[in-house]
């Protein structure tokens, strides 16, 4: 089982987290065309290589965060970014 580096808890079994998926920006809901909105809903790049993705630390700190993973080697490269900067360790 993959180990996912949670920015708060530290390395955790992937089963402790929920894989949210490829991180993608939300278009402006008031101006987005149907094509843009549906690209946001359904289209994924699914690269063999570096991917920015969102995880939710469901059993641990309950924080969403974004990290970069090489989908071929499963190596996480950049340090994870907490989506919210709430309560970092003092």
């Amino acid at each position: 089982m993959l180990i996912v580096p949670c920015p708060n808890c530290g390395p955790r079994n992937a089963a402790d987290l929920r894989y949210v998926g490829e991180s993608r920006p939300r278009p402006d809901p008031n101006s987005a065309s149907a094509k843009e909105w549906r690209a946001y809903l359904y289209e994924r790049a699914n690269p063999a290589g570096m991917l920015r993705e969102t995880w939710y630390c469901r059993s641990g700190c309950r924080r969403y965060f974004v990290l970069e993973r090489d989908t071929v080697s499963n190596e996480f490269t950049n340090p994870p970014t907490p989506v919210a900067k709430l309560g970092k360790r003092p």
């Binding site: 708060n8 808890c9 079994n13 089963a15 402790d16 469901r58 059993s59 641990g60 700190c61 309950r62 924080r63 709430l86 309560g87 970092k88 360790r89 003092p90």
Partner: protein, 194 residues
């Protein structure tokens, strides 16, 4: 709340094994014990790092400490459990500076809580939970959350006189299930309900 009726624990007594055999609670001094602490007062404090309460609590995420008889456990980066006797917990909570975005919720009724104590208690947890319970990864005072027998639990290692001990809390509705499952897992190590 002196006039209130007795607190109804989520764990019913007498304790019954998985096979349906009643289990006699043991006396204190048994080497490995599980005790129902569900009626203990548990407050949940939510406070961001910008608040005074955050500084007052002074307990970083994933750690715990005791102040005036109240266990303060940093379970989430912005969330603490205050656990102890009701008066003590209320007193400590009352001293918190509530300015800013600070929430205080009584979690006594919503959380079942058990204490697993004994030299072999990490062995019991290893049967139920994938976290590393070795001393260097989960020392005395550590506060952690994880899945125990498929139930998300908040766990504080809170040794008693040097004997490893863990306070395990979960959603109240899972209380009976979790109590039974811990007793079952501990059977091979001679666990006794206290």
């Amino acid at each position: 709340m002196a006039e209130s009726p007795a607190f109804e624990s989520p764990v019913s007594t007498p304790y019954v094994s998985y096979g349906g055999v009643p289990i006699e609670p043991s006396g204190p001094g048994s080497p490995l014990t599980l005790q129902d602490h569900s009626s203990t007062t548990k407050f949940i404090v939510r406070a961001g790092s910008e608040t005074n309460a955050f500084r007052q609590l002074s307990t970083p995420f994933a750690t715990s400490r005791t102040e005036d008889g109240v266990l303060i456990a940093g379970q989430r980066p912005d969330e603490w459990f205050l656990v102890g006797r009701e008066q003590a917990v209320r007193a400590l909570a009352g001293r918190l500076d509530r300015t800013g975005h600070v929430s205080l919720i009584d979690g006594t009724h919503g959380r079942a809580m058990f204490r697993l104590t004994g030299a072999g208690s990490a062995l019991v947890l290893e049967k139920l939970c994938g976290l590393d319970w070795n001393d260097h990864m989960t020392p005395d005072g550590a506060a952690v959350s994880g899945s125990v027998a498929k139930v998300t639990c908040d766990i504080v290692r809170n040794d008693l006189d040097g004997v490893p001990s863990y306070l395990i809390s979960c959603d109240r509705s899972f209380g009976q299930y979790l109590f039974d499952v811990i007793l079952d897992a501990g059977q091979e190590f001679g666990i006794q309900p206290l």
